[in-house]
């Protein structure tokens, strides 16, 4: 019995060590979020005000409207080592500029098709509509995306960048 206990404690220790190791080198995805000034950026603030915690993997870039996001920005983010890109704007019908988000939707969808051909996982580019008051959704979106990206591992484009 003693032997069993001993062996288990050794194994536990080993496991812990492994975990600690892994923790150090654990992959932390980087997400670039292009957030619309009127909705998603505000939602991110509300998440803060409400203290909805989410993983620290995201870096927001504020834009006036998702309609102004040139697909080139998104591609550049991937080129520069982003593991995921989030485009977050107003619900359809809520656009501060009438219809910018509809155009964003068309563009992102087209880009997704292209990235798909390129072999990029679908989860890496995400389009979300987040109401100005919906801090919960912003936090959940980041948490969910970070989780998925962790499982996916580093972006395939990253290697090239580093080399």
């Amino acid at each position: 019995m003693n032997g069993f206990n001993l062996s288990r404690s050794i194994r536990t220790r080993q496991l812990l060590q492994v975990r600690r190791m892994r923790k150090i080198t654990e992959f932390e995805p980087r997400i670039i979020a292009f957030t619309c000034n009127w909705c998603a950026y505000s939602a991110a603030d509300i998440a803060g005000i409400s203290r909805f915690h989410y993983p620290a993997n995201v870096r927001n870039i504020k834009v006036m409207c998702t309609g102004m996001i040139d697909p080139g920005y998104i591609l550049r983010a991937f080129e520069r080592g982003a593991d995921g890109v989030l485009v977050a704007g107003c619900e359809i019908g809520d656009c501060h500029y009438i219809s910018g988000n509809i155009k964003a939707k068309e563009r992102v969808e087209r880009l997704k098709k292209l990235l798909h051909i390129l072999g990029l996982e679908d989860e890496r580019l995400r389009l979300e509509w987040i109401d100005a008051g919906d801090g919960r959704k912003f936090a959940d979106t980041i948490e969910n995306m970070a989780g998925k990206l962790k499982k996916l591992g580093p972006s395939p484009f990253k290697k090239e960048v580093k080399s």
């Binding site: 005000i49 550049r76 983010a77 520069r80 155009k103």
Partner: protein, 559 residues
């Protein structure tokens, strides 16, 4: 780039940031970033001390870019921008980095990661700040006069409100006389006063007002220009006239649907519309004892799905007048829902019930039928709530029809470059918060041209449209968004993609040196950037959000 001098102010926000993020370390890090010549941290950057420090350090260190890393621009950007301006720095050379709401508050349990994120965010902010350019807020002079199109109750009310505030008004009416639809009405609900007692004095006041120039039998033939400077061509029976106005109010009203072919209207002599009944009531009714009214004729049907909003009240009003005229008369109102919304209308409906007017609900699948050859003798109706067919004797059948948009709304919308909704009425900029404004600055809408309204609603909207029109005229200038799109004419291929995309009709193709080039009317641009994102030539850029500014942020993601 060497002459860029950036100063950074990192805020502790008490413990809100400082309790999570290692602010001194971040500040030290900020000093290592390119072009940063100064960095400090404050307990509260937004406090009086913090603000004076920004102003002081701008002059002390000859800063020409300022970055504040603190809470959120949504609440504090104006404050810091003003601080910069006060120190003589163009306010668009300020950049905000959000390390509280979007960092310390959401990553409290991970101070190290939060600190790392703060470093990243500041690095990205600085990357953008290096590229910031000063923006000028241009001022466009506004001619203090307004063109009001339509001389009904809405148009005249708007004109009077404007004129009483001292602005020149050109009131253009297509018909020979002012007055619009009200000229044909008998009495007005809910006060039951004579329509002429309302409209005639209004016409007099308008005609006698020094500041109002009335143009009857006149149409607007052309409109060019933009807010503050519209060039308008009026056409009075072939005679053209040009005027210059700063703002335009559309108050062209609507017309009553003539239900030709429905329920025998047009064939049978004793069928009227409510509008025709008004005339009869005005002149004096005959000896009709049995009056049947059918509501929703031509409304709430697949071809015309909307509800006419005021038709129920029109029918009830006329029913009440018939009853008051002859209490022995039997009046039946066949309806599909009684739209007596609000306090006064519901009370009026109760009054009608007291008078003995009877209401029968019918459904669209079993519409009423008429009986009789040359004249309607009776109306057959399936009483939906009794599940039973009734035959009502009928001496006079009155059809309640909705207001419909004028046919020439199309032409006006094209001329003014404003939109129509699917129903053919004019489309406001935002259904809820901008109900009397068009997406195009300087042009406003009120009354039945927008949607059927009763008289008080039309007057409210007229005043509201006037409020919007006087704002730029009182100020004398407009300062359009500084954050707008601009065209690099060397790159523009004149493809026109942007023209189609712009939700504000702010872009058009203009000929220049034999080339077609996109031209942006800055006064009309709201800065959404949709055009820039779509421009295949990269010729359009959005001030303050130029490609290189955003890409610099992206680039800064990885060191």
């Amino acid at each position: 780039m060497s002459d860029v001098r950036i100063g950074i102010f990192v805020c502790h926000c008490g413990k809100n940031i400082g309790g999570v993020i290692n602010v001194p370390e971040v500040t030290e890090y900020a000093k290592t970033l390119p072009d940063v010549v100064y960095a400090e941290h404050n307990l509260y950057t937004c406090s009086a001390e913090g603000i004076s420090s920004i102003r002081q350090k701008i002059s002390e260190h000859k800063l020409n870019r300022v970055v504040v890393a603190s809470c959120t621009p949504r609440t504090h950007e104006t404050l810091f921008r003003n601080a910069c301006e006060a120190a003589g720095l163009n306010k668009y050379l300020f950049e905000f980095v959000n390390i509280r709401d979007q960092c310390s508050w959401v990553h409290m349990q991970e101070p190290e990661k939060a600190t790392e994120k703060a470093r990243d965010l500041i690095r990205m902010g600085v990357a953008k700040a290096r590229l910031l350019e000063p923006l000028e807020e241009v001022e466009i002079r506004v001619t203090p006069s307004c063109l009001v199109i339509g001389g009904g109750v809405a148009g005249m009310s708007a004109a009077l409100n404007l004129a009483n505030q001292g602005f020149e008004v050109y009131l253009v009416e297509r018909d020979k006389e002012l007055g619009g639809l009200l000229l044909n009405l008998n009495r007005l609900f809910t006060i039951n006063g004579k329509a002429e007692e309302v409209i005639i004095p209004l016409i007099e006041r308008v005609k006698n007002h020094q500041k109002i120039k009335v143009h009857t039998s006149t149409e607007v033939k052309g409109v060019a220009g933009f807010i503050g400077n519209f060039d308008v061509t009026l056409d009075q029976k072939g005679e053209e006239r040009k005027i210059k106005v700063g703002t335009i109010i559309v108050a062209t009203g609507a017309e009553v649907l003539k239900p030709v072919g429905q329920y025998g209207y047009g064939d049978k002599s004793n069928i009227l519309t409510q509008l025709e009944l008004e005339e009869r009531l005005n002149k004096g009714m005959g000896d009709e004892q049995n009056i049947v009214m059918i509501n929703c004729v031509g409304a709430r049907i697949p071809e015309r799905p909307y509800c006419g909003r005021i038709c129920c009240m029109v029918a009830i009003k006329n029913a009440v007048l018939i009853k008051e005229n002859d209490p022995r008369a039997k009046v039946w109102v066949l309806h599909r829902d009684l739209m007596t919304y609000g306090t006064e209308f519901e009370k009026y409906y109760q009054k009608a019930m007291e008078k003995g007017i009877r209401f029968i609900r019918y459904s669209l699948d079993k519409p009423p039928e008429i009986v009789g050859n040359n004249k309607v003798k009776a109306v057959k109706v399936y009483h939906q709530l009794m599940g039973k067919e009734m035959v009502l004797p009928c001496d006079m059948l009155v059809l309640t029809t909705p207001l419909i948009p004028h046919e020439d709304n199309q032409d006006i919308s094209r001329m003014l470059r404003v939109s129509l909704s699917e129903h053919g009425f004019f489309l406001e900029a935002h259904l809820k918060l901008q109900p009397v404004e068009f997406a195009t600055d300087g042009i406003y809408i009120c009354g039945c041209a927008r949607w059927p309204t009763d008289v008080p609603e039309a007057i409210s909207q007229a005043c509201a449209a006037s409020a919007k029109a006087v704002i730029p005229m009182r100020r004398g200038y407009v300062r359009p968004e500084a954050i707008t799109a601009s065209v690099n004419e060397d790159k523009c291929s004149g493809c026109g993609t942007c023209v189609l995309l712009c939700p504000y009709n702010a872009i058009e193709l203009q000929s220049k040196d034999g080339k077609k080039l996109a031209h942006i009317t800055t006064a009309q641009c709201k800065g959404c950037g949709t055009c820039g994102a779509a421009c295949p030539s990269g010729a359009i850029s959005m001030n303050h959000f130029r490609d290189e500014e955003i890409l610099a942020q992206v680039e800064a993601l990885v060191i």
